[in-house]
């Protein structure tokens, strides 16, 4: 009876956007008299961080601090259409729509600033500080709050913009499957270190090495959250999760988290994560989708590590202790 160690590998790609396209999202943006730009959407944040990265993208395009951006989302009376949050599409689609809206709003902002500063809009610049200034003479500048007040009460101008992003729908060719399914592809490689107890069949994931390429990273902390949270979910898929442990039998459906077994904090493995950036030509600032893919490569990496540890090749997921033990028995006989 012993604890056996193994290492396994898996490498994957993942598409961004609703398969085959045809999934628009819109954004509207306007400044109030507070000099704050409000983004109106009908998009949903599932916890992945949309309410954070969309203001970041708008702030970047407007050239303003993120503190001067507010997000108002997910009311179909006040927010323009969005197809929804799925298919790793939200950052890509909504991000592109917000850039388009923010560009229009920025142009309006520069035009009013030009009137206030006695310059041409093309001569103006921003540096993320909240000031619009003459590029060759930075002392001539106006703060966004003063600029918004002037736009509203002096010039009768709105600081606003409209944005939409649509990847047009393409039907696959029925005979060959020729199609244009995605906007870009993200990539990952997972290396899993596991130990297998050959007496109990229990598998412990000791460490996961996660390497990702996601285009441009909008927010490194949120990307780490997605990578490590997703890796943990992938580990759960690999070792624990099934609604029907004797599938296809229908008589063991779970009714609570006592019966639907998930790993707890004690099972969370050590992780080391690295991201490399190859900005996408289609994404907002080059971002690709990372919403879904992070649970994928850990599954095979863990299964391959189990084989490396004990010689049992598991071809049915999840890799339960029972399946490991049956595999070990088969090796002995």
């Amino acid at each position: 009876m012993s604890v056996l160690h193994g290492r396994g590998y898996a490498a994957v790609n993942y598409p961004t956007g609703m398969n085959l396209g045809g999934d628009p999202s819109q954004a509207l943006i306007h400044a109030t008299t507070t000099g704050t730009f409000v983004i109106a959407l009908s998009s949903t944040d599932l916890g992945q961080g949309l309410k954070t990265v969309i203001p970041q993208i708008a702030a970047e395009t407007l050239g303003l601090p993120v503190e001067y951006i507010l997000l108002d989302t997910a009311d179909t009376d006040t927010g323009p259409h969005c197809m929804g949050t799925f298919a790793s599409r939200a950052t890509h689609r909504v991000g592109n729509a917000v850039i388009m809206a923010a560009r229009e709003a920025r142009q309006a902002m520069l035009e009013v600033a030009a009137l206030e500063l006695g310059a041409e809009p093309e001569e103006l610049a921003t540096d993320g500080s909240g000031f619009v200034f003459v590029e060759d003479d930075p002392e001539r500048r106006i703060f966004i709050v003063d600029l918004a007040l002037a736009a509203h009460f002096k010039h009768g101008r709105t600081l606003s913009g409209r944005g939409i992003f649509l990847k047009e729908h393409h039907d696959p060719v029925p005979e060959t499957g020729e199609m244009d399914p995605d906007s870009c592809q993200a990539h990952a490689c997972t290396v899993a270190d596991v130990e297998v107890d050959d007496e109990t069949g229990e598998v412990t994931v000791l460490k996961l090495f996660n390497v990702y390429e996601l285009g441009r990273v909008i927010n490194p902390a949120l990307v780490r959250q997605q990578i490590e949270g997703g890796a943990y979910m992938g580990m759960a898929h690999a070792l624990y999760e099934t609604t029907e442990p004797y599938y296809p039998k229908r008589d063991h459906l779970p009714s609570n988290f006592g019966e639907y077994v998930l790993p707890g904090p004690a099972e969370a493995p050590e992780m080391e994560s690295v991201v490399i950036e190859r900005p996408s030509s289609t994404g907002p600032y080059g971002a690709k989708g990372i919403g879904e893919m992070t649970a994928n490569s850990p599954i095979a990496a863990i299964g391959n590590a189990i084989y490396d540890a004990c010689g049992v090749r598991l071809t049915t997921r999840p890799f339960t202790p029972e399946r490991v033990l049956r595999g070990l028995d088969a090796l002995k006989s």
């Binding site: 994957v12 598409p15 799925f86 490194p220 988290f257 900005p279 095979a300 997921r317």
Partner: protein
């Protein structure tokens, strides 16, 4: 914690960005950790009614008699709803993107197709009386032969459980979504090795902390305000309007804060019937799944089967890959037809293989309808493909990362679905993973790049 981003790969622009690329604090973090985030169920309304379902106890059966009189006698029960109360009872959620036919009833008419299928909605003053009312509904069944596995469903003499005449979705005249690229049979004949293995995956629950639900509130102007945790506000609004019978602008959907979705909250199951209950009673109605319902009757990730056959040369080049996959829809199409096409588009994984054949089936069984889940069509496929790669490496006694690098797709490669690859980076994530784990690669693999076809491979 080590620096997340390694700028040594694909070094380029980005230095003039101010906000993009910085770790701005999550907008919802403080609300979540202090318990102040408002979820839909935090809306407390004094006159809110509760909806619970009486559900099928059979896998496949005719409904001979449905008697709701017992439910109506329960104190607190205000109303029951059957299929007769649903104006446009037959639907399929992806009709919004052109999928046909409408194969799913909101509430069944003459038969049930899965154990757990809702039959009668009971609306009551309290959750307890709604549950009691639902328990008092009496249903007389006449069992029909049930099909409980995908393999059984596709056998020739299997009972056909769907009115369109097949136990699989029909893709433009084909029983499966197809990819045909090159000539796999010719390549198998030329290959040094042919490996064929099978992989299976069981259903997975989305397991959100917050269960699926909504509260529908009739407005003074006659409109309905839907407070929902849907992942897709307008998708849910449009599907709901079609079921309850327009006009679309009678509905307002408010949401955007979701306690875990993972794909399970794109199903549009709770909102339409809750809207009808609110219209029938002119009172707010809450329909939220219990944990048991979330686990037993909400959709799951499909069970899937993959048979992967590869033709491989002695040096590790994969010259042909034939994939037959089966994705279980359960009793109704739902989103599975989409997931199957996405799965086919994903094949043969991140590799450049000159001959690819895919038959991807969307299979109906008398089981809980499945739904989209994180990595729809891809997660289980990657389990199969990447286990297959490990087995090939073992069989050829090759380094597992070098086998992948040898076959990795790069910029300019024509994919099996005939799109030219761009923005590839599989080579680099593998190289970086090797570096991270002290895994030595032969120099020819160290030198590879996604940007060029120089070096290993073709």
């Amino acid at each position: 914690m080590t620096e997340l981003i390694d700028h040594d790969y694909f070094a380029g622009d980005g230095d003039d960005l101010h906000v993009v690329g910085t770790s701005v604090t999550r907008a919802d973090a403080l609300g979540h950790v202090t318990g102040r985030t408002q979820f839909f169920e935090d809306l407390l309304l004094a006159d809110c009614l509760h909806l619970k379902m009486h559900r099928s106890e059979r896998h496949h059966a005719l409904l001979k008699r449905v008697d709701v009189s017992g439910a109506l006698e329960v104190p607190g029960v205000v109303r029951v709803l059957t299929h007769e109360d649903v104006p446009e009872n037959w639907y399929t959620v992806l009709r919004l993107i052109g999928v046909e036919p409408n194969d799913q009833p909101v509430l069944p008419e003459d038969r049930v197709l899965w154990r757990g299928e809702p039959i009668v909605a009971v609306v009551a003053e309290t959750e307890a009386s709604a549950l009691e009312g639902a328990a008092r509904v009496e249903v007389e069944y006449e069992d029909l032969p049930a099909v409980l596995t995908m393999e059984e469903a596709l056998t020739e003499d299997a009972p056909i459980i769907k009115p369109h005449g097949a136990n699989c979705f029909i893709y433009e005249g084909h029983p499966c979504r197809r990819i045909r690229f090159g000539n796999v049979e010719h390549a198998f004949a030329q290959a040094d090795h042919v490996f064929e293995w099978r992989y299976e995956s069981e259903p997975i629950e989305h397991a959100p902390v917050e269960t699926t639900g909504c509260i529908v509130v009739p407005q003074p102007n006659g409109r309905l305000k839907i407070h929902s945790n849907t992942q897709a506000a307008f998708f849910t609004l449009d599907n709901t309007a079609l079921i309850i019978g327009g006009p679309f602008n009678r509905l307002q959907l408010v949401g955007g804060t979701v306690g875990g979705g993972f794909g399970g909250k794109v199903d549009v199951i709770v909102e339409p019937i809750a809207c009808l209950a609110a219209l029938a009673t002119n009172r707010p109605v809450e329909y939220v799944y219990s944990r048991l319902e979330e686990m037993q009757v909400s959709s799951t990730r499909s069970a899937e089967i993959f048979v992967v056959k590869d033709g491989v040369m002695a040096d590790g080049r994969i010259v042909a890959r034939k994939v037959t996959c089966y994705m279980e829809a359960g009793a109704y199409t739902g989103h599975t037809t989409y997931g199957v096409t996405k799965c086919a588009a994903h094949m043969p994984g991140p590799y450049s293989i000159p001959n690819v054949w895919v038959d991807a089936y969307c299979v109906y069984t008398n089981r809980t309808p499945t739904g989209p889940m994180r990595g729809f069509g891809v997660t289980n496929a990657d389990f199969a493909l990447e286990t297959q790669m490990d087995r090939i490496a073992r069989a050829l006694e090759m380094d597992p990362l070098e086998l992948r690098l040898k076959n990795a797709y790069r910029d300019g490669d024509l994919k099996a679905h005939r799109k030219v690859a761009e923005g590839a980076a599989l080579v680099e994530v593998i190289q970086r993973a090797a570096e991270l784990t002290g895994h030595e690669l032969a120099e020819e693999y160290e030198r590879m790049s996604s940007l060029t076809h120089a070096g290993v491979g073709v």
